[in-house]
Amino acid sequence: MNPKIARHVYGWLLFAPAAIFFILFTHYPIVRSCYLSFFNNPRGVQPRRFVGLANYAYLVNDPIFWQALKNNLIYAFGTIPVTVSLAILMAVWVNRRMTGRAFVRAAYFTPTILPMIAIANIWLFFYTPGVGLFDNLLKSMGYSGRNWLGDPDTALLCLMVIAIWKDAGFFMIFYLAALQGIPKDVIEAGKIEGAGRWYFFRRVTLPLLMPTTVFVVFNALINTFRIIDHIFILTKGGPDNATELLLYYLFQTAFEFWDTAYAAVLTVVIMAILMTLALAQFKVLERRTHYQ
């Protein structure tokens, strides 16, 4: 065979095994979801038929969808800044010499490796009104207990606290890596110039950590559209949809209501959001490189 053609064939052959699975479980479902979103939901004897934008019209008028979207935004913008700040703080602390550093680092990181389901099982006890840990603590301090998960005002917050607890240690790792990547001479220079620690951190360290922050923030954003395991244990989306997140709503629609058509619409919406995020990340990174 012509060596030039052989080269192309060889490249494709190497890629082919992975390609099959990429297409089957990523690209085909993306296309198929878009396609299904324009059809009705076939049920029993009813056949599938084209309904145009009817499902999307239902989406626009579906208050639960809007509530879920809003919850998702609150969840993301409530957890990410806290998680990221804590992660930086943890990384800075763990990065210096200190007694018991190994314990502290392990304590920060451990929640990351535990399954969300296990974590939810444990936190459920904290939040149980009357007999749970939080209520016991509050009562011992003379405050009244709260119905943590049963009150729409606090239920989502409770889930967010868990997410912060679980993710801060995970993102700490990336900052730790970034901190260790800061050139020694930069640090020395700072010391020689007599820069205050806070000043040095703000003017030198933090900007150097910027690429990591961009990476972490976007990863965290994606995660809010992916990790919903704790909802299954803690609230099932309630009370009154206060903890309904988009992916959980998608699950309910598909596997509790058996409405594949509307589930396809929700899939498309989630995909659109994620793609937009990807584009935004790309733009941010691009702008940064222009400035540098």
């Binding site: 009244s144 609230t235 309630g238």
Partner: protein
């Protein structure tokens, strides 16, 4: 050569048929069952299955367990859609309309053969059949069935000077006694509530109690109309709301179905409404004297029934149907129903079970076990419509919104009615 090759093929075919024939003599059935693996209910079901298999060596029963009704339905439907062989299942009694819409179940009337079989079909408590029949045909055989009862802490009653043998019998008494039972610490913080009614998991079910006690059934028999915003239903939800916000005998916000038993056993609520299916765990876990009572009455007494029925699926061979019938009849034999009821707290579904010595002795030593049965006299069908899961969600959301003080009963129930009408309109 040709002929001998042909003969070989013939021989091979014959062999294959023989093997298949032998295999066909053995009937395998798969059943989905909504209990968690392990634990007492699981052990009892397993023992019963083993008992059945030893009586019928040619029938093998494979039980697939799932923790709760929703998961079981989800998984069972998924398996059926995937073309896996599932012959029967215990599913939520209220799934009946959805299973009919999916066109996957057959009435037991078509499965029974003899007069004895037909008599068996009629041998269950009539209250339980309300959720088991549609269009005059029987689709569900009651097995894992319950009503809602009131568990109360007798020690707490005695402590505040109430008669432990006289639980509240009316809504007014409920409020009055509830107020007495609320206990506060030195700072005025509540350490024990008077009453808890769970509002996650199955909010609509608990709400149905209040609605029926207020004289209203929430849906029609055909399952295509609901009455969420009638004056009676609004009043019922307002009463639930007021117990928390006006009378302050109940915590505000929703009360978790799953952890409520732990709260009751931990003493942080003096009374709870819960399924009779919880009777045995409460008996095993309570460190104090507790009582079980019928729910209090308002315009009338009442509780919806609940729980699961045996369904038989359409995609079954005649041989399989006979085997399934045999199995379900075995499971509902008075003695086996009695064993099941004692082990779990679920109601024995046939009067004959209460005539067995086993259950007679048990009831004599533990009278609380008959409360749920006695309540059958006042019981109504559990909430069930077409697209039940979706319609239920509208009602559940309304209840939770009201209990957390986010909407008035009128607003919330109007909204729920609208949502339900939109979906049910297609089935009228």
């Amino acid at each position: 050569m040709r002929t001998s090759g042909f003969k070989l093929v013939l021989l091979a075919t014959a062999l294959v048929f023989m093997v298949v024939g032998v295999a066909a003599a053995e009937i395998n059935m798969t059943m989905y069952y909504p209990i968690a693996v392990g634990g007492k209910p699981y052990q009892i079901i397993n023992e019963l299955i083993q008992g059945f298999e030893s009586q019928n060596p040619n029938i093998k029963v494979k039980a697939v367990y799932y923790g709760n009704y929703d998961d079981t339905r989800t998984k069972c439907l998924a398996a059926l859609k995937a073309g896996e062989p599932v012959q029967l299942s215990v599913l939520f009694s209220i799934d009946i309309f959805d299973l009919l819409n999916q066109d996957i179940i057959v009435p037991w009337d078509d499965v029974v053969q003899t007069d004895a079989d037909r008599a068996w079909l009629k041998s269950f408590y009539p209250a339980l059949m309300a959720n088991s029949m549609a269009g005059g045909k029987t689709y569900g055989i009651p097995f894992q069935r319950s009503t809602i009862v009131m568990y109360y802490n007798k020690d707490a009653f005695a402590e505040v000077g109430l008669d432990p043998e006289k639980p509240p019998a009316t809504w007014d008494e409920l409020v009055a006694m509830g107020k007495k039972l609320v206990k506060r610490d030195a700072n005025g913080q509540v350490v024990r509530w008077g009453l808890s009614i769970p509002s996650t998991g199955y909010p609509y079910w608990m709400y149905q109690c209040l609605a029926i006690e207020n004289g209203l059934e929430l849906m029609n028999k055909a399952g295509n109309e609901v009455y969420f915003n009638r004056p009676e239903s609004i009043e019922a939800l307002r009463f639930w709301h007021d117990m928390a916000y006006k009378h302050e005998i109940m915590q505000k916000g929703s009360t978790d179905w799953g952890t409520l038993r732990q709260q009751f056993l931990g003493g942080s609520t003096a009374m709870m409404w819960h399924t009779t299916g919880n009777l045995t765990p409460v008996r095993d876990g309570a460190k104090f004297k507790f009582g079980v009572a019928m729910l209090p009455a308002h315009k009338r007494r009442g509780s919806p029934t609940g729980g699961g029925n045996f369904y038989i699926f359409k995609k079954t061979t005649p041989e399989e149907r006979t085997a399934v019938l045999k199995f379900v009849q075995f499971m509902t034999e008075p003695i086996n129903t009695a064993k099941w009821s004692i082990g779990t707290g679920y109601v024995a579904t046939r009067p004959a079970a209460y005539e067995t010595d086993l259950l007679k002795d048990y009831v004599a030593g533990f009278p609380a076990a008959t409360v749920a049965r006695d309540q059958f006299e006042y019981a109504v069908a559990e909430f069930s419509t077409h697209e039940t899961a979706r319609v239920k969600k509208f009602l559940d959301d309304a209840i939770q919104a009201v209990l957390s003080g986010k909407a008035t009963p009128q607003e919330a129930l109007n909204k729920a009615q609208q949502g339900a009408d939109q979906i049910l309109g297609g089935y009228r």
